[in-house]
């Protein structure tokens, strides 16, 4: 697993080097202001965790990084260069690969086609060059198995997979192609314990290979297992911004929930 990653990773990456720097980023959807004044750095070889309540603006934040929506305010620097992405292609060309919460896959297409969509293997560069179908099938199957996902038929439309299986395909794809920066939007939400473990391992492996990782989650436990830097969003603004050395799991949980709710809840529910 780590081999794949290391082999795909950019050799030029130096740990700690800033890949993405956001300063004062803000974003409005028409009349709705989803994000304001966000500062965030993604460093090579580190995992930046973004946490926050529902609707806090986490997905919006990563959509800006990955070129899906342009930002309205602030500046976005990639490798030191000031940029506003106008399409995801641009972001991908800067080596930023993303797994979206709600834009993962094209339901009607086969699993392996989804896996390679946008990064197909062809036997040449001319427009009519054939796809390397066999190879693509093999790789897709292999990569999914590594995540513990055995799809019944790699040729079935991805829409017939379960929600979690779809998510796995999207993650496996991003990891497989993620060259410099890997962005994961709640990757473990729909996953079982085993699959979550695999994703976390991948995340760690990506970090160790020198990639910058942005990890969005609701689960402070998962975040704390891999994170180097933690940001909590609240109502579109930053509520906490600390490195691993400055913050413990307890504080993180408390901050996320406004109190150690789970324990409290357990009392309340009387079990």
């Amino acid at each position: 697993m780590t081999d794949t990653l290391a082999s795909h990773a950019d050799r030029e990456l130096n740990k700690g080097e800033p890949l993405i720097e956001m300063t004062g980023i803000g974003k409005s959807y028409g009349a709705i202001r989803a994000l304001r004044g966000i500062n965030l750095r993604v460093n090579a070889g580190e995992v930046t965790c973004v946490l926050g309540d529902n609707g806090a603006g986490k997905s919006t934040l990563i959509k800006i990084m990955s070129g899906l929506h342009p930002h309205n305010e602030g500046s976005l620097k990639v490798d030191g260069e000031d940029l506003t992405f106008s399409s995801p292609r641009q972001a991908l060309d800067h080596g930023i690969a993303t797994v979206y919460q709600d834009l993962a896959v094209v339901s009607l297409m086969e699993v392996w086609r989804n896996f390679f969509l946008g990064s197909e293997l062809t036997s040449g560069r001319y427009p009519l060059a054939g796809l390397k179908v066999k190879e693509m099938r093999r790789i897709a199957d292999e990569e999914l198995r590594k995540m513990g996902i055995v799809v019944k038929d790699i040729n079935q439309p991805i829409g017939t997979l379960s929600g979690g299986q779809r998510q796995c395909v999207a993650i496996a794809r991003a990891v497989y192609f993620g060259a410099r920066v890997l962005i994961l939007d709640e990757p473990t939400a729909a996953l079982g314990v085993k699959q979550s473990g695999v994703v976390l391992k991948y995340t760690a492996a990506a970090r160790d290979a020198g990639l910058g990782v942005v990890f969005i989650t609701h689960n402070p436990h998962h975040a704390y297992l891999v994170g180097d830097h933690f940001i909590i969003l609240k109502l579109g603004g930053t509520a906490l911004d600390k490195t691993r050395s400055e913050v413990g799991l307890d504080e993180l949980t408390t901050q996320m929930a406004g109190g150690d709710e789970l324990t409290e809840l357990s009392h309340e529910l009387g079990r």
Partner: protein
């Protein structure tokens, strides 16, 4: 963990064949073919078969483009009139300015591609559904065909161009025919087969094909993984225009003259062919061979009724029933293929 193979499936060969999108259409085509063989004695000759193929090819060539476009999630209602526009531009330019027909044909090609580009550009930039944008171009072209022809020639049909330089070579390419025994084979049939094969290859075996499915199935997701959405869609509109131009050239060089008001209504035949052939109206699913079979079903039905000598007043009713039957058979076959249990 139990063995994984416990509910892993391998589809049998017959099931895999049945699951292909064009099989339903093929079965429908065979049924209709056998039906007309028995109902219409005049249908039972190689000549008739090739007349049907010819008729299918003039629909089918544009339908290939329209099918690709529909898989890519868009419509083009201007695909019918653009054939006439293509021919008119070529013939009137050359007639009016005494150009060689080759120059006119190339100018016409450029013009058609430009219209395709405009269609695609407007759809992508404004976000207005292509149904509406191309309905607009449909009306505009229809009006312009008539208005310009009237202006240039004073009548509603284009001048005869068969005496202008370049006619022979062009008509050899676009509108020649040859004999095999008693049977006349039109070159459009050959072109049609070529285009279908090419489109089938592109769809299934190239990166572009992958993108076409993706932009039709889920444009947002496709864009998110870096598929060049705008470029792909504009390209598809231009492909339709190209095929429209091609058929326009055929019409011009076969008939030497064109009626400016024609071509209207054909846009739906293309869509029908595509959908009967298994293309999803909402995009993201379909197949070039299916579209070709769809065009063949349409050609066969519309001429079969004539061969059978049925009351022409009921023509449309027969056509409607055949269409419904074809679609139902198609559906039934598709159901069969997924309902069959394994093991």
């Amino acid at each position: 963990m139990p063995t994984e193979s416990s509910n892993r499936v391998t589809l049998s060969l017959s099931n895999r064949i049945l699951a292909r999108p064009e099989v339903g259409a093929l079965v429908a085509a065979v049924i209709i073919f056998i039906f007309f063989l028995s109902a219409a004695p005049a249908f039972r000759s190689a000549e008739s078969f090739f007349t049907v193929l010819y008729q299918s090819s003039t629909i089918g060539i544009v339908a290939v483009g329209v099918g690709l476009l529909m898989i890519g999630g868009e419509f083009d209602l201007s695909a019918g009139v653009i054939t006439i526009t293509a021919g008119l531009v070529n013939s009137m330019l050359c007639w009016n300015y005494g150009m060689n027909l080759w120059v006119g044909a190339l100018v016409s090609l450029a013009f058609c591609l430009f219209i395709g580009f405009v269609n695609g550009y407007l759809v992508m930039k404004t976000g207005i559904p292509s149904f509406l944008i191309t309905l607009g171009t449909f009306f505009v072209l229809q009006g312009a065909n008539l208005g310009v022809t009237k202006l240039v020639t004073g009548s509603v049909s284009s001048p005869d161009i068969s005496q202008i330089d370049g006619f022979d070579s062009l008509s050899a390419i676009f509108a020649s025919s040859f004999k095999i025994g008693p049977v006349t084979v039109w070159i459009t049939v050959i072109w049609w087969f070529l285009f279908v094969a090419l489109a089938a290859w592109v769809l299934q075996r190239t990166r572009t094909g992958n993108w076409i499915f993706a932009v039709g199935g889920n444009p947002d997701s496709a864009r998110a993984v870096g598929v060049p959405l705008i470029r792909t869609k504009i390209g598809l509109f231009m492909t339709v225009s190209f095929f429209g131009w091609f058929v326009g050239m055929h019409l011009l060089y076969r008939f030497n003259t064109l009626q400016a008001g024609n071509g209207v209504g054909n846009e739906f035949l293309y869509i029908i062919a595509a959908v009967v052939g298994g293309t999803l109206l909402t995009g993201g699913y379909g197949n070039a061979i299916g579209v070709a079979i769809g065009a063949f079903i349409f050609g066969m039905t519309s001429l079969g009724i004539v061969y059978a000598g049925w009351d022409p007043n009921w023509f449309k009713a027969f056509l409607g029933v055949m269409l419904l039957l074809a679609v139902l058979v198609n559906l039934y076959v598709k159901r069969m293929s997924t309902a069959r249990k394994v093991g």
